[in-house]
Amino acid sequence: MAMPVNVPHVGENLEAAMKSQIVPDQEFLLQGSVLDTSLGVVIDRLRGLCDNADILPETFHDHEVVFVLKDFSAMSTPGPASQGVMLRVRRAMDYPDLPYQLRYVGYPELGNYPALLRNCLDIPVSNNVCEFLTELGAKLDHEFIAKGFIMKKGRIKVTVFKMYKMGIGMAKDNLEQMTMSHMVELSVLTTKTDMSVAEDLRALADQLKPLVQLERIDYRRLGP
């Protein structure tokens, strides 16, 4: 009776991937914004720079809910327990059958990188994730709707979107906008061993000047 001795184990595979640092958990990010009046010009420029210039850019319409997981009953002592962890749940409103995305975003890394570098985990999950997080002890922090265009250039993801407020009784086509401008984001997900792609990100950002000024934005420096 010939039997394979071992069954590959999910945990083992993941551990091996962690050891050889091939888990795509690092994100390079550059952000900027553009006034609604100049949106058309930016989109045209991006279509020229990105892949598939011959077709119209894909649109997206996402709903993002941000939870904070921390020990709410604990005394406010310094440390991760009082600061908590932010967990973001995103769902595509225009494609309700797609899985929800659970996203963990770490603090920006210190160092002189061409773009903002942070730890990032994107986990597709089942649609009961909000209930799961609430029972886990997390509380809803804020939510918003992001609507816009998505393009790509090689491995780089380019999104141009507008953020809208969430409210009771808000219809899909009657949203309240937060600002008079669109966000422009360039991001790429990579591994610890492959940092060269950050240069490509910077190069693309330079080609968008002076239409959009894309920068490393460290939110911790933006005080309330």
Binding site: V7, L14, A81, L136, G137
Partner: protein, 214 residues
């Protein structure tokens, strides 16, 4: 994916491999075909917060669904099962200020998988941190999706090689989901239920009850 029933096979001698060998022989007499191995493992995290609200988070992997992690949250009053990509495992260390796993409670069922017509049988040896604990038999009936419609057939089949340890009544987990469509989450939830019983150590003698055996 059909309907899955999980059964602890009593092993009063605690010999482990002797009993699995016995099951192997019996099932081969039924013209089963061995088709590889399987493993289901479960890690449990406990809350470390100061409040009395104790929640358990079971992290389960099943080799049948190799890129999925099942996170089963047990609040004491209800259970919520989240199916996630296995990158979810990398999120857990970041939650360790609230949920910490106890390594010596890691439990797994591992063994051979057989096919007999429309049935898939998995005979697993359960070990907790390397120590043999029990034998778990998983039986899946592929053509049906609701337990109510196929339980009697499954019971008859299970009794044909496991004997009287298979009770005539449906396991309590399925009793409450008699007419629901069976999903992979239901399979792992049954594993968690049995793993908990095994951890509490009430299984070796406790399951040898009389039933309307074969």
């Amino acid at each position: 994916m059909g309907v899955t029933v999980l059964q602890i096979f009593p092993d009063s001698s605690r010999s482990g491999c002797l009993e699995t060998e016995k099951l192997h022989k019996r099932i081969m007499h039924l013209d089963a075909v061995q088709c590889g191995m399987f493993t289901v493992d479960c890690d449990t995290c406990y809350t470390v917060t100061q409040t009395g609200n104790n929640r358990k988070l079971h992290i389960v992997h099943n080799s049948e669904t190799p890129t999925t992690t099942y996170a089963i949250l047990d609040t004491g009053t209800k259970q919520i099962t989240l199916s996630a990509d296995y990158l979810f495992d990398l999120l857990l260390p970041r939650l360790d200020f609230m949920y910490q796993s106890k390594k010596n409670l890691k439990i797994e069922s591992k063994g051979a998988k057989y096919e007999i017509g429309d049935f898939v049988v998995k005979i697993g040896t359960v070990t907790m941190s390397g120590h043999y604990k029990a034998i778990l038999v998983e039986v899946e009936y592929l053509p049906c999706h609701t337990p109510a419609l196929c339980w009697s057939l499954m019971r008859e089949f299970m009794q044909s090689f496991m004997g009287s340890c298979v009770k005539p009544t449906l396991p309590s987990y399925l009793q409450n989901r008699l007419h629901d469509i069976h999903t992979p989450q239901d399979t792992v939830q049954q594993y968690v239920e049995k793993f908990n019983e095994i951890r509490e150590g009430t299984t070796f003698a406790g399951t040898q009850t009389t039933g309307s055996g074969s």
